[in-house]
Amino acid sequence: MDVAPNWYLALSAVLFTIGTFGVLFRRNAIVVLMSVELMLNAVNLTLVTFSQSMGDPSGQLLVFFSIAVAAAEAAVGLAIVIAIFRSKVTVDITEINLFKH
């Protein structure tokens, strides 16, 4: 069964929006990190859809790099969250406010 590319694009736009709202409104650093990953994966879906519908491989090429980058970011991000947890014993980002504005 063929599904029109527009449906995939709409799905990825919805996922991207869910991710954005997750980053903006969640307070747990781990959940924020997961929301960022959701945003990146939504973009991957967009790239693959365009790539497939245009018959051009360079979009899928970028997806490979983007998966690798997302993995590296997750590793660094979790390490930073662990370092924060060690000193503050919380991962609530509203309580991480050492610098005054």
């Binding site: 991207f16 650093a29 945003m39 973009v43 245009m54 090429l61 970011e73």
Partner: protein
């Protein structure tokens, strides 16, 4: 597709990736050496050698003609060599300044220097990109290394908090950036920058897709160069990160990201439809940066707001959209790199609180110039140059970003820019005033042990600061040669057309 020539092409193109390979391979060698002894004294010097050799190689390629290598994914030629030279020399200065600083904090681990090298590789790729894939990869290689460098002093909660803020907001902006690339790709069907400009945007929906994507793409870039309103992370991150690395973050990162932005504006969207949006961001950036800097008592936070303001000045040059504007922006990036790495360098040598200077006020350094005349006078030169005081480099730089904007009809923008730089004199001169004119008796309760807690000023570190100060005077007097070189990059491409 015929792949029989692929391998020979890769081999012949290899010299174009000389700096990238040397810096990357030496970074790997440092990691290996670090595995045997993590404070091996040779590790920073390996980095200095690699960056020095690469910088010399790039300097000989300043006059090279522009072309592309590796199947049109990377560019070569004068423009790339110029940006790489800024990045490599900034990395060199950073390593020399980091050695005494990290020794003092007992954090002189090899992986710090290796991460500086890897981040430099990312910046070089970003500054020579000719393809959206290269831009994304370069930007992320650079950023992921910088997230780690920000927070590597993990016993200090301030450093880790900065790293978390930088990481979360950086990853968030990466999402927008990547979505922008995806939409532009969907509209044009290509990842290569010149092919994007050539693509037909026939229907209304294709045009919407492209410009929507381009807007998201710009958001990602404005975040990386800390332009308002995407600057919120900058003060906290700069205040909490280790000081010499803050200098690196504020100079080399900006040079690389602005270079990629110029490449995109010149090659992928040469029409200049973006002019007013960039001008609006420039105004906002200059005003917010300068006004917020007025009230700061911590010098690192002050310099963070000042670096936001300076991103605004570079954006003024870009919004002109002419060859002269881009050439002026390149010149400004060079001058800015020299003066800002110097200013953060001086602050790293004058740090006594053991918390990356985040709790150290400006007045605690009252009269320090009398004890440390070399640091005091170089700081004076950096501050005057940041104001844009003739005959220092900052004055020439500001002139060459403002003049093309006037020619392009953006007089209102330049008026705001000049007013804002006049305002900036207040907070820069206050630093000079406290360093030279005040004494420890004028302020209550300075820490008596502060002098003992300063990092030991090594010859290499002090020498770097003196070289930066001298370079600013030289750039301010003999700017003609450099500016002609940067102008040449855009005339030979013949693609930078006035909007």
């Amino acid at each position: 597709m015929d792949l029989s020539t692929a391998f020979p092409t890769l081999v012949t193109d290899l010299p174009a990736a000389f700096s990238m390979s040397v810096v990357g391979l030496v970074g790997l060698a440092m990691i290996v050496l670090d595995a045997f002894r993590n404070d091996h004294p040779a590790i920073p010097w390996l980095g200095v050698a690699a960056l020095g050799v690469s910088a010399a190689w790039e300097a000989t390629h300043l006059g090279a003609p522009q072309s592309t290598v590796f199947f049109e994914t990377l560019r070569t030629g004068g423009f790339v060599a110029f940006i790489n030279l800024i990045i490599l020399l900034t990395g060199l200065a950073t390593i020399l300044l980091s050695v005494p600083y990290l020794n003092q904090l007992r954090y002189d681990y090899g992986e710090v220097y290796a991460l500086i090298m890897f981040s430099t590789v990312g910046m070089i790729m970003l500054g020579s990109a000719n393809n959206m894939v290269s831009i994304f990869l370069g930007l992320e290689t650079m950023s992921v290394c910088l997230y780690v460098l920000t927070g590597f002093i993990r016993e200090d909660e301030g450093a880790v908090e900065s790293a978390l803020k930088y990481f979360l907001l950086g990853a968030f902006s990466t999402g927008f950036f990547l979505y922008g690339i995806a939409l532009m790709y969907g509209a044009t069907g290509t990842m290569a920058l010149p092919a994007m400009a050539a693509a037909e945007l026939g229907t209304l929906s294709t045009r919407l897709l492209f410009w929507g994507g381009f807007a998201l793409f710009l958001v990602g870039f404005f975040f990386k160069v800390s332009a308002a309103p995407f600057h919120m992370w900058t003060p906290d991150v700069y205040q909490g990160a280790p000081t010499p690395l803050t200098g690196y973050m504020s100079t080399a990162t900006k040079a690389a990201a602005f270079a990629a932005l110029i490449l995109v504006l010149v090659h992928a969207v040469p029409g200049g439809e973006w002019q007013l949006s960039v001008a609006a961001v420039a105004v906002l950036t200059m005003v917010i940066g300068n006004v917020m800097a007025l009230a700061q008592t911590n010098v690192k936070r002050l310099l963070a707001y000042s670096s936001i303001a300076h991103a605004g000045y570079v954006l003024v040059g870009l919004s002109a959209g002419t060859s002269a504007g881009y050439a002026g922006a390149l010149f400004y990036l060079l001058v800015y790199a020299v003066m800002n790495i110097g200013a953060f360098g001086v602050m790293s040598m004058l740090e006594w609180d053991g918390k990356e200077g985040r709790e150290q006020t400006l007045s605690s350094l009252a009269g320090i110039a009398n004890d440390r005349p070399v640091l005091g006078s170089t700081m004076g030169i950096f501050m005057l140059s940041l104001i844009g005081f003739p005959p220092l480099g900052g004055f020439a730089g500001k002139y060459f970003v403002f003049a093309p904007a006037v020619d392009a009809g953006l007089t209102w923008l330049v008026v705001i820019g000049v007013l804002m730089s006049a305002l900036s004199a207040y907070y820069y001169l206050r630093v000079v005033y406290v360093f030279w004119m005040q004494s420890a008796d004028d302020v209550e309760a300075t820490d008596p042990v502060r002098a003992a807690a300063f990092p030991r000023a090594t010859v290499a570190a002090t020498g770097t600061l003196v070289v930066c100060a001298v370079a600013l005077v030289v750039l301010g007097v003999f700017f003609g040669g450099v500016l002609e070189t940067t102008l040449g990059f855009f005339e030979s491409t013949a693609m930078a057309t006035a909007p």
